[in-house]
Structure formats: structure tokens, C-alpha cells
Amino acid sequence: MTQHIVLDIDGQQYPVDADPDMPLLYALRDHLQLDNPRFGCGLGQCGACTVHVDGAPTRSCSLPISAVGTARIVTLAGLGTPDQPHVLQTAFIQEQATQCGYCLNGWIMTAAALLRDKPHATEADIRDGLSGLKCRCGAHLAILRAVTRAARA
């Protein structure tokens, strides 16, 4: 019942032997120790586990690894670095847009796809595009400021 799968993550190839029904999140976190996608609900309801799968923001807690195939996976670590930051990473730092930060991955990864598709997104676009993500600490306004700042950058 174990399947051998090679995952393409942040431009590197990672072999994983696991139950084909195992959600991608556990391959990333437990098998590969790529920790940034976070377990929030395991139900696709909060977004903390979001990665890009062939560019589409995807809840990795709900995607079986057998369904990933050769798709290119990008995690927050692959989005940018301190030397070459993504515009959203810069904006979130400038706005200090998080409290505990456990949900942060979902907001940045979802917003990155949103701004890629709609570089001049309005605040209404951003609210709509980020609807459904959860932040328990209530950093909503700071997050909105950060994404809006990035959209104007």
C-alpha cells in the first residue's frame, strides 16, 4: 500500500514512500521536514497548510499525495528570501502584519496567487480573495494593509 512518489517542491526533487491517500501536508511536514505549511484543521477550512500546486493555492491537508503527480509545488520558503523577498513578504514585515503567526502561511500564499492573477487588486478584490482564511488572533486589518500595500508596490 506504500507508493513511491517524487515530489517537486521549491525546485527540488524529493522522493517519498508513503500511503497514496496520505495528504500532501504530512509528506511536507513529517517526511520532508518542510515545516512552514501548518496543520490548522485538516479539513480545508482554514488555509494554514496552503501551498501552490502548479500555481494554484491549494490546501495541502486535503490533497492526497497520489493526486500531486508531477505538479510543481511551491511553499512559502520558495516564494522569496531575505535577499530576494516577494513583495508580500516585504509588505507583511513593513506592516508587522501578524500576531502569533500560525496562520500567516495561508494568507501570504493565497495573496501571492491573488496578486499574480490580479496585480492591481482593489481592497474589495483582496477581501473577497482572502475570504475563508482564518486568523484567530484578529490580525485581519493589518493583513489587509499588508496585501493592499503589496498590490500598490
Binding site: 508513503a18 477550512q45 500560525y102 488572533c137 486589518l141 493583513i143
Partner: protein, 754 residues
Amino acid sequence: MGNISRRSLLRTGGALVVSFGAPLASPIAASAQTQPKAGPPPDQLDTWLAIQHDGSVTAFFGKMDPGQGVDVAIRQIVAEELDIAVERVAIVMGDTARTANQGGASGSTGIERGGITLRYAGAEARRVLLDLAGQHLGAPVDALRVRDGVVSCIADPARQVSYGDLIGDRHFDVPLQWNGVYGNGLVARGRAEPKHPGDYHIVGTSVPRTDIPEKVFARHHFVTDIRLPGMLHARMIRPAVTGSVPIAVDEASIADIAGARVVWKQGFLGVAAPREWDAIRAARTLKVTWSQAVPPFPGTAALYDHMRAATPIARKEPVKQGDADAAIAGATKIVEAEYEWPFQSHASMGPACAVVDARPDSATVWTGTQKPHFAAMGVARILGLTLAQVRGIWVRGAGSYGRNDAGDAAMDAAVMSQALGAPVRVQYMRADGTGWDPKGPASIHRARAGLDANGKVVGYRFDSRGFSRTDIATTESDPAHSLAGQLMDMKLSPTQEFGIPTEPYQFPAQLRAWETIPALFDRASPLRSSHLRDPVGPQLGFASESFIDELAHAAGADAVAFRLAHLQDPRAIAAIGACAASFRWQARIAGSLRVADPVVTGRGFAYSQRGQTIVALAVEVEVNRTTGRVRPRRWTVAHDCGLVINPQGLRLCIESNIAQGSSRALWEEVTFNPAMVTSVDWVSYPILDMADAPDAIDIVLLDRPDLPPSGAGEGSIRPVAAAIGNAIFDATGIRLHRAPFTPERIKEALGVPT
């Protein structure tokens, strides 16, 4: 220098390697113990501060930062006293081997209490360093000055010596006067007087957080990322009916899952496996026969009826002035109302996680709890070890906001690790986090007051009835207050506590009382109650400040003017005035501008005093009369928490309080059937969505350098529900007496078919 050379070298950390992964090749040393010992002594300066050879400083803080940047504020306080750049001050938090027990995150005391000793320590270290510099430079201390950790002669600045050269990597060996208290009340100080606030140049500035870039670049590690060699992943198995316990467990049912093992002790049941997904599968697959239990709960719909019919077990009357009943009876006009507030969940963003490595004669717990020193005590007790044998290491967890599920996860991991003889990582599933965390208690508040002919209150009563806020203790030091302890039949010791409104309204006769009723189920209950951010404050504030609004309306008065007419405290008056001015509040009677449009707006006001922190709120809300949806659009917050340490951090903390408070006011209600809690995820327990976030929160900080800083983590959540409810009344004429103000409830109140 002879004096310095005799000083002992700073001890270095041990060698237990803890891997956080990412990347695989770079495990970090967490300097865990090989020889566990009790925490450092509070009466030594070295416990609080260390100076490295390069002159950089490490502060040791016996609390932690739950996500508001308290660590930055503490670094600022230390840097200020030492006259060193804040960037050169690092902080160690919440590690029982390296920090004294300052109580963890508790009651918004991070700065208010936790900062006191760090401030004294900084001042004392500066005094000692100046003495050493005087000897070194051959100059009297009053001829010296300090700039960024370098001491120089005022008359001849070329004669200088750095903190690093004076004492780098060596102990101060300087005693402090300690009040003998551990926890929030711990105070230790030296001979030095701290700086006068008028001389501050670091305190009061918006120093950015250091953890945010780490988080943004995927380099920050949470407790969920702790890995140990040989570590097993575990999941807990909870009953479907509260009170039911396993009577048979078929281990063969998971025999085909690699390495899966069962730990079963009385009601305690968990599974573990080397792979996390296997642990999850084992928890789902394991065949368990459960005892028959009588479903103990009344069900959500019957909660408040149950509470009204219950017999109280404790009652207190903390404020009793004059004869309130007689004064009300003789009043011109009597107003009365009852308010209801549901159980609410911490619903932390990530369900709790803890890792415990239990050995025969020692244990280490890595925990995201906000009270790691107490969690270490609880782990010691549940494992039968002494406190000195257990080290607790706080690693950031998801924002906890009180006694959330983190305390239970630590005990579960301890029991599992001891039973399995291996390090165990317990991470809960979503339903464990939202369904089984300790809850903020449900309550009913009855308010009654009498007005005279001039619209002034002559008598006031406020009676609360609720479940205790300490049905389980707010720290994890006694495992009998954890799910693991209760499932293993440890002796219960609930205490009875609630609270009263603390706003200093000057009513001639008044009674403010509370009573508690028995928990719905006494042992391992998913409705056990404990502290949730601003414990019982939001429910008290909802009722008391809604009632003030009702009184103002009955008196034909403007809500702001009515409050001011009953207040004498100058800080309260200043905060209310500042809020009203910035909001451009125009005096009028609530509801006097009502229109019948499909979408209507209204404004509401509320005020609170929590400890020494004073908050005044005004809000404009939009009510969609068709959908029942309420959206606060524009807030003004006037906030007085004494001396402001970090304005930006404070503003962001206040914003988050407003957002979380809105979430609790508009959306959050724990639901349950007779057997079990049924609000178990983000669909059944919704919280504020980005679509409902306000347009703007205007914050007026009333900085009071003449006053000590008081807590800001909770004060501004307290009046949020009342402000929104008062605005809904202004917009619609509907007075809401039950929270949350869900679309269904709004439509029902408006008579819209649901």
C-alpha cells in the same frame, strides 16, 4: 580588573540536539539539560541578565510572548535602563531551566508585572557596570556616561570601556532583594533606581518585532516543529458521549499500521506511531468498545433554562454600597434587563501540540502553553518526578488566549511518553482543539436600576450567574485539572470564581454580585470552563455596558453624556472624551435617526476599565435587514494603559482585540447536544472572516508617562460586544440580550423570515 577576573564564567548550554527540520541538515541546539535542575534563583542579577563578550545582552524573561510582541517591549525596557541599542538585547523566554517563574502569560501582566523586575535588573546592571568602569578608567562614576554599551569619561571621551570588556561572558554575582514570590507577583530589585520616564529614548518608540521576518521567510519554528530522535507521533481518542470510557480496546485492529501502539489507562486512550499519518490512521481505525454513559448535557437550546433553574454553589457581593433594592424601589423609573452569553472556545489556530521526552529520572516538555513553568510542574506530578527533574521549554504555539488545549496536550504527551518509553509528540486534531478545549463560561446577567426625575441613577444592581471561570485551574501545575488527569480518575478540585463589572460609575446605592452554578459534567468534560481572553470580561462588558445604554435611552440622554454624568475618575472621563471627539460623536438619543432602508447604520459606545487599563470605544455598524448580517465598519478606540512602551505593538494588539472581540460578539457560540459538543471545526464554530473585517480602526493612545504601564492584552476586548449591540439598537431599535449577534438572531429579532 582583578575583581572581574575572579568572576565565574557564564555556564554554557548542554548538548541535547533538537531538530526542527527545514533544512534537514541544520538541527539547532536547544541547550537542554543533561542534569535537570530547578530554575535559576530570582535573587541573583545573573538570573535576569547576561552580557556577552561582544557587549550584547541577553534578558531572561519568565513569561513569554503569546503573539503581541511582549518580548520586544521587555527588550526595550532592558535596553533603556542599560543604555544600549535595543538590537543588541536578545531575550530568552519561558524556559524553566533558564528563566525564573514569573507566571507565564497571565492576565495581561507581561509588561505590567513581568517588566518590573527586568527594569530593576537593567538599572542594577548599569550601576554595577558603571562601578566597574570607574575602577577601570580611574574616574568617579558621576564623571562617566554610557552610549550604546560603551562607558566613557565625560571630560575625555577617548577614555572608554565597553560592557563586553567589563564583564563579557562572566557572572555579575550581585544579589537582588527578592520578595519571595513566584509567578505574576515576583519582584526582585537591586540598589539602583531605574531611570525617570522623562529620560526615555527607547521606551516609547515603535521597535519592530524580530519574529515577523522569521515567520514571513518560513524560518520560524513553532512547537509543532519539534523533533527528537526516536520520537513517536501520537493522537488521542476521545469518547463520543461525554463520560463514556473505553471498556475494551482491540489492538489487533491496527496491527497492520507500521509501529502503531496503544496507550490505555482507565479513561485515557491514545495511539502512537513513528509516522504522523500512521498515528492519525490508527486513531481512526482502532476498535474501541465504550461504556454506556448517560448523556449529561441539556443541549444548546435549553442551556439558559438549565442555568436559571440550577442551584448556585457560590455567591459573592464584591461591591455593596447602600441599599440598592430600596433605592431602586423608590425611583421615578425602573429599568431592568437580562443578558445571556454562551460558552465560547479558544479555538486556537492550530490545535495544541506538545512533545515530552520522559525518562526514568527526568523529563523534558516542549510546549506552546503560555505557562511553561506550571506545565513543567504538572508534568512532574503526572510522571511522579520532582520538579527539579523536569524541564519545561516554551516554544511558540498558536495563539492560546488563556487556558486552552495546550495544557492538556502536555499532560497527554507525558503519559504517552512514559508508557511507551520514547519521546512522544501529541498534536490534536481540529475537533480536539475546538470541541475539547476548556471553554469560556456561559453566563446570565440580570441588571436592574432606578432613575430619578433628572435621569440620574439612584440605585443599581448587577447580578451574574455563570459557570465558574476556574472549573479547571488556569495553570497546568496540577494534572487533576487536565483531561489526562481527569480521565485517570485523579481527585477533582474545582474552584468557584466569576466576576463583576469594574467600571467606577458613581451610583449612590449599588450591588454588584455573582454566583456560580455546578459544571454541567464534573470530569473530563468538553464543557469544563476556564480562562479565555479577558476571563468573563466580554460577557460582563456586554451586559453592563448594554445596560448603561438602556439606562441612557430610558433617561432620554445621549449615551456618552449619560456615562460622563455618572463618572468622576479623570482618566475615564478623558478616555471617553477622547473617543467621542475622534469619532466625531454628536450628542443625541440612541435610535433617533432610524430609517427603514434595507441596509441601515447605527453607532454605539461602550467603555471599560480592566485593572488600571481604561478603554472607550465607539463604532459605526452596518446592519443588513434582509440577510441579518452585521458589520462594524468604523471603530474609534481611546486607550489608556499608562506609560506606552511600544506604540506600534500596542496599536496592533488593540486592533486584534477589536477583531477578536467582534468575532466573539457576532459569531462565536459553542453548541452541544445532550452527549457532546457539536461545534468542532471552523464551519460549526465560525469566527470573523476577512469579509466582515472593519474598514478602519482609529486608535487614540493616551500615553501616561507618569503612570506605570498596565496590561493591554485584554482591556479592549471587553467593551466590544456592547458597543456593537448598542449600535445595532441605534440602527434598528432592536435591543439584543443574547450573544452572539448571528444573522439568524438578527433576522429573528427583526421579524424577517429565516
